[in-house]
């Protein structure tokens, strides 16, 4: 892989009979995991605590040395290469960021590029690029120390550091576990956006099933000793859990959770009449009258949704834009889930929510009707799929029973 490639996209990961045994316990901590992760895929390991998901993850970059089995990245067997070299090619982000408190944000991000010998000017550019990528202003943040950042900002820098040397693979060990729910939501959205841009292979560990559904292209539900209970797409796991363990983990409200699987970008974003604060008042009046709706959206100087203006608002406020209308309380990005959108629509009394782009600029709106229609279509499609899958599963079970009766080693797969 040429190092100069600006964005190395993902590499495949294969785990073959990966096992970790500790000397002081009779049972292996991780028992013969077999898994193929495709290049550019975001796979989430989810399972109860102590199930070995973190251990499995740490074996991929050999922070924990496996006692058996092979690891292949992009087909190359990395089980016996120098672990330091391996880790420089594999990004690693952990809970509560793992930033070094005595180094500035820029120094933290520059660590891995520095270790693999990039030139100073290239590193400097890269630091700015990475901060920009995770949505932090380079000029403002690069000289700060981790202590001077909020938890969410630290986590962003942690991700920037993990991606700095452009590794094809990124390992994330409960990276958003220590931040508050609102920030976590934002960070998850950011990660989805990043993944859309970068197409890395990401292995993400969490114990939060909702997080797994929201982020994963595929989810591996793990039970004790890292046995894979089910490894499939979120849709399939929700509509068709493999066994009681998985359905117990999925929990109640699968239909609502389904809303987490579809994003605003997948539904129709409608256009809406807008004016900006710089428009002369007369234009605003005209637009309100001509629009055919009883509300228009007022954008601020940078094109971000600012206020909803109703007919008559301007009259009551005596023509002052500062006083007229109601402030836009909530917006969603295109990467937000339908669940977020529904939440926002439900709290807005007009029944619609503005969709914004990366820098908060207005793109369109999503309203109740659009959401209802999409949900109906989705659930219908799921039902059909589930029926098909059920059918397949029954066939597979019949086959398995058959195989077991024959005495073949069906246990390995179970």
């Amino acid at each position: 892989m040429p190092e100069s490639a600006t964005a190395a996209s993902g590499a495949s990961i294969e785990l073959e009979n990966l096992t970790k045994r500790y000397a002081n316990s009779p049972q292996p901590a991780v028992d013969s995991v077999n898994m193929e992760i495709k290049a550019g895929e975001l796979v989430v390991f989810v399972g109860p605590s102590g199930c070995g998901k973190s251990t499995t993850l740490k074996m991929i970059n050999r922070l924990i040395e496996p006692t058996g089995g092979r690891i292949r990245i992009n087909g190359e067997d990395v089980t016996d290469i120098d672990p330091v070299k391996l880790r420089r090619k594999v990004g690693y982000a952990i809970q509560s960021s793992g930033l070094f408190p005595h180094m500035t944000v820029a120094q933290n991000i520059a660590l891995v590029p520095g270790m693999i010998g990039w030139s100073k000017s290239r590193i400097r550019d890269r630091v700015e690029e990475m901060l920009d990528l995770v949505g932090l202003d380079a000029g403002e943040f690069q000289g700060r120390y981790p202590r001077q950042l909020s938890g969410g900002q630290q986590q962003r820098v942690g991700v920037a550091r993990a991606l700095a040397a452009d590794p094809p693979v990124l390992l994330m060990d409960e990276p958003f576990g220590a931040v508050d729910p609102i920030t976590r939501d934002h960070l998850q959205d950011e990660l989805i956006r990043l993944q859309h841009e970068l197409h890395k292979t990401i292995v993400f560990v969490t114990h939060d099933f909702d997080e797994a559904i929201k982020l994963g292209d595929r989810i591996a539900v793990l039970r004790e000793r890292s046995h894979i209970a089910q490894f499939d797409t979120p849709e399939a796991i929700l509509t068709n859990p493999a066994d009681d363990f998985v359905s117990g983990f999925v929990g109640a409200g699968a239909a609502l959770k389904r809303l987490n699987l579809t994003r605003v970008r997948d539904v129709e974003i409608t256009d809406y009449p807008t004016v900006t604060v710089d428009d002369p008042l007369q234009n605003i009046f005209n637009k309100l009258r001509d629009s055919g709706t009883n509300e228009i959206l007022l954008l601020d100087k940078r094109g971000r949704p600012y206020k909803w203006l109703r007919r008559g608002d301007m009259m009551r406020a005596k023509g002052s834009l500062a006083r007229a209308g109601t402030l836009v309380s909530d917006t969603v990005t295109r990467d937000a889930t339908l669940r977020d959108a529904l939440e926002a629509v439900l709290t807005d009394n007009a029944g619609r929510v503005a969709v914004t782009g990366r820098r908060g600029e207005y793109i369109g709106v999503v309203d109740m009707e659009t959401l209802m229609n999409s949900v109906h279509e989705l659930l219908e499609a799921d039902r059909l799929e589930a029926m098909e899958a059920q059918h397949e599963l029954e066939e597979a079970r019949a086959f398995q029973t058959h195989a077991e009766q024959e005495g073949a080693g069906g246990e390995e797969k179970a």
């Binding site: 740490k58 970059n61 922070l63 330091v84 070299k85 391996l86 880790r87 420089r88 090619k89 990004g91 690693y92 952990i94 809970q95 509560s96 793992g98 070094f100 408190p101 005595h102 180094m103 500035t104 820029a106 660590l111 891995v112 270790m115 000017s121 400097r124 550019d125 700015e128 690029e129 000029g139 403002e140 690069q142 000289g143 700060r144 120390y145 981790p146 202590r147 001077q148 550091r161 993990a162 390992l171």
Partner: protein, 268 residues
């Protein structure tokens, strides 16, 4: 993205716009109060000596640059012994926190504790019997006596590091040596420096005992003052010892403030 010339960017990284202006680490009070006090004490002592009439014995003990010689010896003893303490205790502390040697930590700590628990003067006497009188015996005694604070602080500082942080360091591809150099030691610096400061002050004190082993130093003035029953000689020796200890402690506290890695301070 615009590409600005390198020099300009260098300045940008060196002086970003921080949320709050960086606090000065060393306040003017810190810089001035103690030196002013020391100057006042020394000035008062000098004035007193200037008008005091000294008899022949006192004159004899203080003339011919004997005072400055004793002071210089005292400084030398302190600096040299501290130097050896550092090059013994810090590497030993690092070694004892590595996985392979961790089991030896209690043993090493027991020895270090014994070194400090022994009365310095007894230790010195034993060394003189063994090695003969002279600077060497005095220095070895001082080193044994002062190793403990540096060693125990080095170990404590390295052990206090958050293991998840060290795992993160390894996880992003640092070698063992890299983790030690770039993460573990910098983070342990405040505690190690505190240990060094303690050792320095201890050494200034024990250096006055060097005279019993024939090592010279300000202790010479004090013992002469006592044996000849000449107050001025005794007072001068004591005041110089105390002033030197305070000065060394002050210098060490400045070093602590300056060398502590930025970003570790509360309130930045």
């Amino acid at each position: 993205m615009t590409t600005t010339p390198e020099l300009e960017e260098e300045e940008e990284t060196a002086a970003p716009t921080p949320p709050t202006p960086p606090k000065r680490r060393i306040t003017w009070q810190k810089l001035t109060i103690l030196p002013a006090f020391l100057v006042a004490v020394l000035l008062a002592t000098w004035l007193w000596f200037d008008q005091a009439d000294l008899d022949a014995i006192s004159e004899n003990a203080l003339s011919n640059g004997q005072v400055s010689k004793a002071l210089w010896q005292q400084v030398q003893l302190t600096v040299i012994s501290t130097f050896f303490v550092l090059i013994i205790a810090i590497p030993l502390g690092i070694l004892l926190t590595r996985r392979a040697f961790r089991k030896a930590t209690p043993v090493a700590m027991t020895f270090a504790n014994m070194g400090q628990a022994t009365p310095a003067i007894g230790l010195l006497a034993l060394l003189v019997i063994w090695l003969g009188a002279g600077e060497k015996a005095a220095l070895i005694g001082m080193v044994i006596y002062a190793v403990l604070p540096v060693l125990s602080n080095t170990i404590a500082g390295l052990k206090a590091n958050d293991p998840t942080l060290l795992e993160a360091a390894r996880g992003i591809g640092m070698s063992q040596l890299g983790v030690l150099k770039r993460v573990e030691l910098p983070l342990a610096v405040p505690l190690i420096l505190a240990g060094v400061r303690t050792a320095l002050v201890l050494n200034v004190g024990t250096a006055t005992l060097a005279t019993f082993g024939g090592g010279g130093g300000l202790g010479v003035l004090i013992t002469t003052g006592i044996t000849t029953q000449r107050m001025p000689v005794l007072v001068l020796g004591s005041i110089l010892t105390v002033s030197l200890a305070l000065l060394v402690d002050w210098l060490a506290s400045l070093a602590e403030l300056l060398l502590r890695p930025r970003g570790l301070e509360v309130g930045t």
